[in-house]
Point group: C2
Chain length 157, copies 2
């Protein structure tokens, strides 16, 4: 399995995020943030038909985050009153691969510019992919840990 | 912006998919497929607490797909009766960055092995990230194009 284990995966950004948001995203209510995903012009054509979707997944590179392969457990949002859990049980940016995934609401598309609401990515974030949100992407009968409830109460998702 | 445009992004696989599924995933009902995500043992600890979630997002590398930067518009599922749309309006694997994203149901975790249902990734697929599905990851008042309805009728999502 050695050949699988050492596998490097290389992507290229398809565009970047333009927003007023700074590094303190943790403090803002991301639901209200309006950002633009600026695609490199060579990809404009790939947006045809995206306007028919109300919601999109944006996959992006957390480029300011230093990959911490050693720190595999964290307190969500650094809150010591929440349990120490594995990073894969959280959306912490400090994970083996600093990759971000956010469901956003599409506001409008003009040429190579995709205006969205709810993107928790800072200005200049490289975007890797845009995928449409299909209705079956919603899970039913969802179960989640108790600590998540504490975060939701203070709008900290 | 040249420095942003040419940005290479490098990740490393955290594990791989083990499944009976072959290359003909398009023909199977992925909802019923049970697969295992085998994490490399160094990441086992990062799974602590994941068992409290009923659903997970699996982000993976479509390693058998050749990146087609030139083909930016396709007929979904190669069906000529469906409109020609941009790849970002589809979940086609033929996209600028061959990255897969699937919402799966968690069955169980044993050590470094995550057993899931609904993963449309073939055997040996490198996994990049695992993220928990939080209840707000579901969008409300969803709008989607008409062609999607045609696909849904034949279980082709």
């Amino acid at each position: 399995m050695l050949n699988i284990m050492s596998k490097d995966i290389k992507f290229r950004s398809i565009g970047y995020v333009e927003t007023d948001s700074n590094e303190d995203l943790i403090k803002v209510d991301k639901e209200k943030v309006v950002s633009k995903v600026i695609l490199f012009e060579e990809f404009t054509e790939a947006l045809d038909g995206v306007e028919d979707f109300s919601h999109l997944f944006i996959i992006f590179h957390l480029h300011k985050v230093v990959s911490r392969r050693s720190a595999l457990k964290i307190h969500p949002r650094r809150r010591l009153d929440l349990p120490l859990v594995g990073v894969f049980a959280t959306k912490s940016p400090y994970r083996p691969n600093p990759i971000g995934l956010t469901l956003v609401e599409l506001i409008e598309i003009k040429g190579n510019i995709v205006k969205v609401k709810g993107l928790d990515a800072i200005d200049g974030t490289p975007v890797i992919d845009i995928k449409p949100y299909f209705p079956p992407d919603a899970a039913l009968k969802v179960r989640a840990p108790k600590w998540l409830t504490k975060l939701r109460k203070i709008n900290y998702l």
